[in-house]
């Protein structure tokens, strides 16, 4: 059992937990993820490690309540426990060579996985230009945290309720057009956003990385549920990723695979089991 130490409500659908997991905290590196199970009937879901504190032995996770398990998770309170919490899994991100211009792009709940990467770059002495966006002001998370580790922070919302009116790709375009070289772009967010960014940067030949979050079961390379085509080859996100070259990723396939259980998920939400977390 893994104790939930603190809970923060970041928006009506975004929650943050600090989880007591000393073994994971000791090892966690930016880019890695955990797999958790809320209770004994629960499914295993992957979540990116948003922050790790090896001294306190805690891992921070941030999630959006989109489906059954994230809803159960969101209903937990600090002081309660998760059945299972395992990690750190996946490969840590590689730091780009210093000196070059690095741009981080986070869309929606994707700001959570972008944050530890920007923080790591910041701690390594790199200046990062960050672009974050959300549907509306209420859903914009981690603004202060991102500001603290970014050399520049640009904000946008789809509805114009905060920051620039538009999409993260609109802001990114300004940097692609300003003529100054870009060392690397890291983009994390919903699949459509990552696809847009990949297509947008491809003609410029700028190295662009995305962090994927497909359906997983074990998270250790055992089942292949998370397979994705990268550069024409099948890779397992859990052990070969989760960070991949955006220009090589087959987003159509990813999107289709992400929807494999949508009808079942709907059914489970309607049948929401009693006596569980709800």
């Amino acid at each position: 059992m893994y104790r939930l130490i603190t809970k923060k409500v970041l928006s009506s659908v975004h929650k943050l937990f600090e989880v007591d997991a000393p073994l994971v905290a000791r090892k966690a590196k930016p880019g890695q993820f955990v797999i958790l199970r809320v209770d004994d009937q629960g499914e295993r879901i992957p979540l990116t490690i948003a922050d790790a504190d090896p001294e306190r032995g805690t891992i921070t996770i941030i999630f959006q309540e989109v489906g059954l398990t994230t809803q159960y998770l969101g209903a937990k309170e600090s002081g309660e426990y998760l059945a299972d919490f395992v990690g750190p899994l996946g490969k840590p991100m590689e730091l780009p060579s210093p000196g070059g211009r690095v741009i981080a792009v986070g869309g929606g709940v994707g700001i959570a996985p972008v944050y530890p990467k920007v923080k790591a770059l910041h701690n390594a002495g790199l200046n990062v230009i960050s672009i974050i966006g959300a549907r509306t002001r209420e859903f914009l998370i981690l603004e202060d945290e991102m500001r603290a580790v970014s050399a520049e922070l640009h904000i946008c919302t789809d509805d114009g309720s905060y920051g620039q009116h538009g999409f993260v790709s609109d802001i990114l375009q300004q940097f692609l057009d300003d003529g100054k070289p870009i060392e690397e772009i890291i983009a994390v967010g919903p699949l459509p956003m990552m696809r847009v960014v990949a297509n947008q940067t491809r003609p410029y030949g700028v190295k662009t990385l995305v962090s994927l979050n497909p359906i997983m079961v074990d998270g250790t390379g055992m089942c292949g549920a998370c397979r994705v085509t990268v550069g024409g080859k099948t890779r397992f996100t859990c052990v070969d990723g989760p960070v991949f070259d955006a220009h090589q990723v087959d987003f159509d396939e990813l999107r289709a695979r992400a929807g494999m259980y949508l009808d079942k998920e709907k059914m489970a939400l309607e049948n929401c089991r009693c006596g569980g977390a709800h």
């Binding site: 073994l23 994971v24 090892k27 199970r37 009937q41 629960g42 499914e43 295993r44 059954l68 398990t69 059945a83 299972d84 919490f85 395992v86 990690g87 750190p88 899994l89 079961v217 074990d218 250790t220 390379g221 055992m222 089942c223 292949g224 549920a225 397979r227 994705v228 085509t229 099948t234 052990v239 396939e253 289709a256 695979r257 929807g259 494999m260 259980y261 079942k264 998920e265 059914m267 489970a268 049948n271 089991r273």
Partner: protein, 463 residues
């Protein structure tokens, strides 16, 4: 009378028509009278050939003799001197190629039902309360066992009975390895596995789940934490795919994923359990080993109308146990042999809808000694399927070899170990599928047992 003695006492089982709709165990097991009657078939011959066939050296005539005398608690005690997991072995061991193959009675009829008797006496004990054997004084030596599958459980149990302080590290949230994620409930109830694991824990073995060695902790860190010897039993967990176009379509599963969702995550009880699984009307399972049979029979129980085994060689070469093939046939699994998939294709929605195959013929034997399949030109045909399960084998999990210094590995990602399970690194042993590539539960147990003896000697040699 003598004629009746020529065949094993049958074990009652669920009717195929019924059982293909549920996940309950297929055979019911012997009752006491049948078990005693079967035990009486044992000739108690001097040569005891059956014992040569047992990878964990069970004194078979002795435990059967005690069943015959109705000394059930003495019988299970005798059995457990060598085998820590008898309720599992009695169910999943391929006795027909091991102990029973060597039985004197097999020369003129059917062998003694060693597996059925083992299962009977193990279940008898589970029903009557499990006794813990007397344990020696603690040695003060600490051993880490990586993986809680058959190799790890056996090694840990034996080392605990030698007085050592053993901790098992398991990556999943439930211990048992392939016994819980791979082998289906209807062949090996998870309650049975849980009770055998409980026995290992009662021997004093500590168990840490949710620890991925190679990620959460490394072998080097385990040594730093004071473990003096380490046994690696991480199995052959990586799924192999065919490498044909269309394998990432929706509805295409590795057998590992298909079985893990169903067994470990209990997708067959969805939505009571949260993990879903999708099975269509027409399911093709590619491969013909035990894992393929398990996948096919699972698909049937999940509601498929037609389930096909698709295999590129002929019936004779199918690697599955005869009993499993027989059970699958009884339940209506359809066998498409000498058939090799070359392409999967999907509909507009991204779901698999068909499989293009080639007919094959058998040529000369290949390096495995089996006749190799050769494609028949122009024999392409398509059959409609909406779910495909790829069950063409597993390869060793690379997480430990990749993160452990000084560990020699083989060509196929296996860890190299000598006949005692000792690896190229001092203090590290390995056994089971991580050394041999995918094999059987009992061979993994045998390797765990052999390694335990060697580890014990090593620990005793330390100051």
């Amino acid at each position: 009378m003598e004629k009746e003695m020529k065949i094993k006492h049958p074990m009652r089982e669920q009717e195929p028509r019924e059982r293909k709709k549920n996940f309950n165990e297929v055979p019911f097991g012997y009752d006491e009278e049948t078990a005693v009657a079967e035990a009486e078939r044992c000739l108690q011959c001097k040569k005891e050939p059956c014992r040569q066939g047992c990878p964990v050296e069970v004194d078979i005539p002795a435990f059967i003799g005690l069943i015959k005398e109705r000394k059930f608690s003495e019988s299970i005690f005798k059995l457990k001197e060598k085998n820590n997991l008898p309720a599992i072995c009695g169910r999943v061991c391929p006795q027909e190629t091991q102990c029973e193959a060597l039985c004197l009675r097999a020369k003129k009829g059917e062998p003694v039902g060693v597996g059925r008797l083992e299962r009977f006496i193990a279940d008898w004990e589970l029903a009557h309360g499990v006794e813990i054997p007397p344990l020696p004084a603690p040695s003060g030596k600490r051993v880490a066992v990586v993986g809680s599958g058959p190799a790890g459980l056996t090694c840990a149990g034996d080392l605990a009975r030698m007085g050592h302080d053993v901790t098992i590290f398991e990556a999943f949230h439930i211990p048992g390895g392939v016994l819980v994620y791979g082998i289906p409930e209807f062949r090996l109830p998870k309650e049975i596995v849980a009770r055998e694991v409980d026995y290992i824990k009662r021997l004093g073995v500590k168990l840490e789940v949710n620890v991925v060695v190679g990620k959460t902790l490394t072998v080097d860190e385990l040594f730093d934490e004071g473990f003096q010897a380490i046994f690696i039993g991480t199995g052959a967990g990586l799924p192999q795919f065919l490498g044909v176009p269309g394998e990432n379509l929706l509805g295409v599963y590795s057998a590992n994923e298909f079985l893990t969702r169903t067994n470990l995550m209990k997708a067959y009880l969805f939505p009571l359990y949260d993990t879903p699984i999708k099975v269509g009307k027409n399911v093709a399972v590619v491969g013909a080993g035990n894992v393929a049979m398990d996948s096919a029979r699972t698909a049937l129980r999940l509601g498929a109308e037609n389930v096909y085994i698709v295999y590129r060689r002929s019936e004779k070469e199918m690697p599955a146990r005869l009993e499993e093939i027989h059970h699958a046939e009884e339940e209506g699994i359809q066998f498409n042999l000498l058939t090799n998939p070359v392409r999967l294709f999907g509909g507009d929605n991204g779901w698999v809808k068909g499989m293009e195959c080639l007919k094959m013929r058998l040529g000369d034997p290949d390096e495995s000694g089996r006749r190799s399949p050769i494609p028949i030109e122009g024999s392409e045909f398509v059959f409609e399927v909406d779910t495909v399960v790829i069950a063409v084998g597993q390869t060793p999990n690379p997480l430990v070899p990749q993160t452990t210094s000084g560990l020699k590995t083989g060509r196929k990602g296996t860890i190299e170990a000598d006949e005692n399970g000792q690896t190229s690194r001092r203090g590290v042993w390995a056994g089971g599928d991580i050394v041999t590539g995918a094999a059987t539960v009992i061979n993994a147990m045998g390797a765990g047992k052999t390694a335990a003896k060697s580890i014990d000697q090593y620990l005793n040699s330390l100051a």
